[in-house]
Amino acid sequence: MSSISLLIDKLNSYLGKFVSFATILMALIMFAVVVLRYGFNVGWIAMQESITYLHAAVFLMGAAYTYQHDAHVRVDVFYRRFSARNKTLINLIGTLFFMLPTSVFITWACYDYVVESWKLKEASMEPGGLPFIYILKSFLLVFSLSLFLQAVSELIKHSLALITNEVSA
């Protein structure tokens, strides 16, 4: 069980670190767009749109990685003072009733939506825009699936932690 969790964590960690490169790319491309447009009067809408793709990749594919690092903000008024065991319990319940259903629901709801876009090889509606809307839409599924996997991993970790804790107590 814990090896599955380990594998998922590794996968999402790679994914998060991989898309983190998109942050600096976004900054550089945006800078280039401004310099080219105002300095040289040239520009391509495809270039503008590429930033949207990078941006979407960062926040969608980085979500599970962010969860791993406990960087999704919590209202920690009471949480801070809870015992480690209670924290684990809350995370177990939250993962089971909030994170898991949310990721399953988004996957289910987005599946047809993304497939439809692939069938049409949907392109940008802007003049000279990128013809990869179907790939952009697919990021939604990568997001929900990586979040789902992370939920599974967290469930395994939290359950194991509670069990071993009980044994030692």
Binding site: G16, K17, V19, S20, F21, T23, I24, M26, A27, L28, I29, M30, F31, V33, V34, Y38, I51, T52, H55, A56, V58, F59, L60, G62, A63, Y65, T66, Y67, H69, A71, H72, V73, R74, V75, D76, V77, F78, Y79, R80, F82, K87, I90, N91, I93, G94, F97, F98, M99, P101, T102, F105, I106, A109, C110, Y113, V114, L136, K137, F139, L140
Partner: protein
């Protein structure tokens, strides 16, 4: 079944208190309610099928691209230790005055706020650098911690600011909605850029109020400040100018390119991010490990913000599905006293919510619901936006859960009692509330500069 919308809201607030990540709690509780509603035939299931469309709307929202870029810029500046240089050179120069160090902290805080928009970093930097010195020089712990916490939150209100980007996006939509609901087609639109410009004067007024407060304490409560300045210190004006150069260049690059029309706020964020990178390179503060850290931090903060946006989008869909919007509209339009009492109540609610919620949650969950109603009742959207921004900024300071307090507590020595920090920020919270009243009385403070441009 409109009351179910209120039950949903209360349930979300209650669930949040358990401390599970906000974004997933918002989404999860809303989904559970929608499911129960569908089973009991009180909720139209087809609402939930619009989720992919709504999520893709978030993906396609180009205004919000400014968020990761400003975050990136902030993290780079933190790594480049711009604040450190500035604080040291300014405080040695001004150290000969009794309240010189306090002044330095406020002014450096203002400059940092104008070059970036991240609260945590500023508080931590100031807390590490100036708090020990302030205490050593004889500032009371209350005054020292209060000044640092308050100054650290200036980044929220002084543009560029992530809070203003998020608010601008939400308010822009709310304004359009409200105008058209009224059938009065006022030609004004409100954008992130407008909010940036509108926030400049109130931000500077706030800085002046902080400085005035320091002078006031220096004169009337002189036991809180050193008995005399440090006459043995002779900082050089030149070293101050050298330290001032990087932040000033960034401020000119970012705010200048917005004000003078070289770039939209989103584009300016890109300019700022690359500008910060160049500064970091010239300061030799950038290496492969640093860069990795910067990129990963940016990814985490960005994902955190946008997952909340996704959760809030699901929440507002379900809230609307239960008829919640109509319910609130009815409540606010029946309020005696019209717009002002409605704004007062909303400000009070936001202030109170600010004790437990973060500015991002309030912006995404509360503002989209109340703003169109308030604007319909006659509130100027720009003015309302700045009022909300100042109010949200205050939430960083309100004990016991203000973020600025956490950050400072994390770096302050154990000698300082938590109560001292709490007591220290009280006057500054008072100043913030005073500013709210001033802006309520003189909306021109917000609207004057945008009208001029």
């Amino acid at each position: 079944m409109e009351w179910l919308a209120l039950v949903l809201f209360v349930a979300v607030c209650a669930a949040l208190l358990f401390g599970y990540p906000v974004a997933l709690t918002l989404a999860g509780v809303s989904l559970i309610f929608a499911g129960l509603g569908i089973v009991t035939n009180t909720f139209d299931a087809s609402y939930m099928l619009t989720v992919p469309n709504r999520l893709f709307g978030i993906v396609n929202n180009t205004t919000l691209i400014a968020v990761p870029l400003f975050v990136f810029m902030g993290v780079v500046l933190e790594k480049a230790k711009i604040a450190e240089d500035l604080l040291i050179s300014m405080s040695t120069l001004m150290g000969r005055f009794r309240i010189g160090l306090g002044f330095s902290v406020v002014i450096v805080g203002m400059l940092l706020a104008a070059s970036t928009g991240i609260v945590g970093a500023t508080v931590v930097t100031m807390g590490l650098l100036s708090l020990p010195t302030m205490l050593k020089r004889g500032y009371s712990p209350q005054l020292a911690t209060g000044t640092i916490c308050a100054t650290g939150t200036l980044g929220q209100i002084i543009p560029p600011s992530i809070a203003l980007v998020l608010l601008g996006d939400v308010l822009g939509n709310a304004y359009q909605k409200a105008q058209l609901d009224m059938g009065i087609f006022s030609p004004d639109s409100v954008s992130v850029g407008d909010l940036f410009v509108g926030a400049l004067v109130p931000g500077l007024v706030l800085v002046l109020m902080y400085l005035t407060y320091l002078i006031f304490v220096g004169i009337f409560h002189s036991n809180h400040v050193p008995e005399s300045g440090q006459t043995n210190e002779h900082g050089s004006v030149l070293s101050l100018l050298i330290a001032l150069l990087p932040p000033l260049l960034l401020i000119i690059a970012v705010l200048g390119s917005i004000l003078f029309g070289f770039a939209t706020p989103t584009e300016a964020a890109g300019v700022g991010a690359v500008g910060a990178l160049i500064l970091a390179v010239t300061k030799r503060a950038l290496n492969v490990d640093n860069l990795k850290h910067i990129m990963r931090e940016t990814t985490k903060v960005t994902s955190m913000v946008f997952l909340i946006l996704i959760g809030a989008s699901i929440f507002s869909l379900v809230f609307r599905g239960f008829g919640g919007e109509e319910l609130l509209k009815g409540f606010f339009s029946d309020l005696p006293g019209g717009m002002f009492s409605a704004v007062f109540i909303v400000m009070l609610i936001i202030f109170l919510l600010g004790f437990i919620l973060d500015f991002i949650e309030i912006t995404f969950v509360v503002v989209p619901i109340v703003a169109p109603i308030l604007i319909t009742l006659g509130a100027d959207p720009l003015w309302l936006g700045i009022m909300i921004a100042i109010n949200l900024q205050t939430s960083f300071l309100t004990p016991p859960f203000g973020f600025a307090l956490f950050y400072l507590r994390g770096v302050a020595s154990e000698v300082i009692k938590t109560e001292q920090i709490y007591r220290g920020v009280m006057p500054f919270i008072g100043i913030q509330l005073l500013l709210l009243i001033i802006i309520a009385a003189f909306p021109e403070l917000v609207t004057w500069l945008p009208d001029l441009l």
